[in-house]
């Protein structure tokens, strides 16, 4: 069953590449170049990536590669309270990583789901998993393969901000995309 999907995805990916190839020279190279141009600056805010999409020497009218260029550097997707709906630019971030994963079939990621600290700890494990699963589904649908993804939920146990206020809680409701080396340890993520 999964093989069939994978074949379909591969076909789709190939078609997509072909489609893009018809009027865009060397998309991979261009992507890498544009990403490294703003890799230094693009840490967590998205403005730089967006600006590069429209302008630049290799800028193009195609909308697929452009806005996602800076998204690859972002590896955190945020959620609203009690929700597993990917919000804001999370969908773009997911798309960027999905493309990368489909392009680099050796790449491996671990999706780490998290919640804010409120409520019952084990129920929060379930909520974090629900969010990680949402990101996993989105990745699969957009080119990644199941073998590339492992999923874990830390619930409320692994906050990035230990404060106890709305700001901190918003930062903790997240899924982190962690790139893994072949030995399973976290590795340098793509820029």
């Amino acid at each position: 069953m999964y093989r069939r999907i994978a074949v379909l995805m591969l076909l789709a990916g190939c078609l997509g590449l072909a489609a893009c190839a018809s009027h865009k020279p060397k998309p991979s190279a261009e992507q890498q170049q544009s990403s490294s141009e703003n890799g230094a600056g693009a840490n967590s805010e998205g403005a730089a990536g967006g600006a590069n999409a429209s302008g630049g020497p290799f800028g193009n009218q195609n909308s697929i590669a452009g806005p996602q260029a800076g998204m690859l550097a972002k590896r955190t997707i945020y959620f609203d309270f009690d929700s597993a709906v990917i919000k804001g630019d999370g969908t773009d971030i997911v798309s960027a990583h999905a493309r990368y994963l489909s392009d680099h079939t050796d790449a491996r990621v671990r999706l780490e789901g998290n919640t804010d600290e409120r409520g019952s700890p084990e129920y929060n494990i379930g909520l974090g998993m629900r969010r990680a699963q949402a990101v996993r589904q989105a990745l699969l649908l957009q080119g990644a393969s199941a073998a590339q993804i492992t999923v874990v939920s830390y619930g409320a146990e692994h906050p990035v901000d230990p404060a106890h206020n709305e700001d901190a809680w918003a930062k903790n409701r997240r899924v982190d995309i962690v790139y893994l080396a072949p030995n399973g340890q976290p590795t340098q993520p793509p820029q």
């Binding site: 069953m1 999907i5 489609a19 629900r130 699963q133 949402a134 589904q137 649908l141």
Partner: protein, 287 residues
């Protein structure tokens, strides 16, 4: 060309998506952008269930009163005597009647013997006539006897009814006597028309002092009933506390004794009411 390729790409993606949905394992939640927001399901989660009424504690069944002693028959009343005399009279009358009939028969037999032969038929006729008369008289006498018997029965029934009436009157009389007795003793205690109100309020003051002093342990639940006999001296101090019937555990027993000592000294009773020497306290929590 690119349009065609893009179009087929989209078509393939759509196919893949559809296929994915068809062949995916029974989905957990469709955890993509189409997930049902939990907030929209608010209505399902707030149905309130009425809390069942707590059961009332079982009420003690009242004891059946012991059977009443049976009373002996009362002595005959004057009515009865009169009735008996009447009956005797009627009896005597009946006898007299019978005697008379006998005598008549004797006389006629003699007359018949005197005018024996010629008047045999006449005598016989007369005899027959007499016999008929006798028979009818006997019948009448029998009727009278039957009537008498019926009267006797009626008399007996009346007698029974009289007996019952008497018993009822006696019972009513005795009850009235008891009520009067109780009222008398109450009056003796109250000593005046206002005294009953003062007594009740003194009683409730003592009750609330003990209630406020009783630190109930968790094991003092409804169903617990403990009786304390408390010795008092004038001035309201407690001289002795002893536990009567009690189904509570040691913690309950400790708590009720402690409560009484802490409630002491008790306030003095209203004027005119002597200080009780003994307090009987029943601890019986209701909730």
């Amino acid at each position: 060309m690119s349009v065609v390729l893009h179009g087929s790409l989209i078509a393939l993606l759509a196919l893949g998506w559809w296929h994915f949905r068809q062949t995916a394992p029974a989905p957990s939640l469709p955890i993509n952008a189409t997930v049902v927001d939990a907030r929209t399901l608010k209505g399902l989660g707030t149905a309130s269930r009425p809390s069942p009424q707590p059961k009332a504690p079982p009420r003690a069944q009242p004891q059946q009163p012991p059977p009443a002693p049976v009373e002996g028959p009362p002595p005959p009343t004057p009515d009865e005597i009169a009735m008996r005399e009447q009956a005797a009279k009627e009896e005597a009358e009946h006898e007299a009647l019978a005697e008379k009939a006998e005598q008549a028969r004797e006389a006629q037999r003699k007359a018949a013997q005197a005018a024996a032969a010629e008047q045999a038929a006449q005598a016989q006729k007369a005899e027959e006539a007499q016999a008929a008369a006798e028979a009818s008289k006997l019948a009448a006498a029998k009727k009278a006897a039957a009537k008498l018997a019926a009267k006797k029965k009626l008399a007996q029934e009346r007698k029974l009814a009289e007996e019952k009436k008497l018993a009822a009157q006696q019972a009513a009389a005795e009850r009235a006597a008891r009520v009067a007795d109780l009222q008398q003793s109450l009056r003796e205690d109250e000593q005046a028309s206002v005294a009953s109100g003062a007594l009740a309020s003194w009683q409730s003051e003592i009750t609330s002092r003990i209630q406020n002093a009783w630190i109930r342990p968790p094991t003092a639940q409804p169903g617990i009933k403990c009786v304390l006999n408390v010795g008092l001296v004038p001035g309201g101090s407690v001289t002795s506390v002893s536990i009567g019937d009690c189904n509570g555990d040691d913690a309950v027993r400790q708590s009720i004794q402690t409560a009484v000592y802490n409630a002491a000294p008790l306030p003095p009773p209203p004027d005119g009411i002597p200080f009780p020497r003994q307090l009987i306290i029943t601890f019986q929590p209701t909730h």
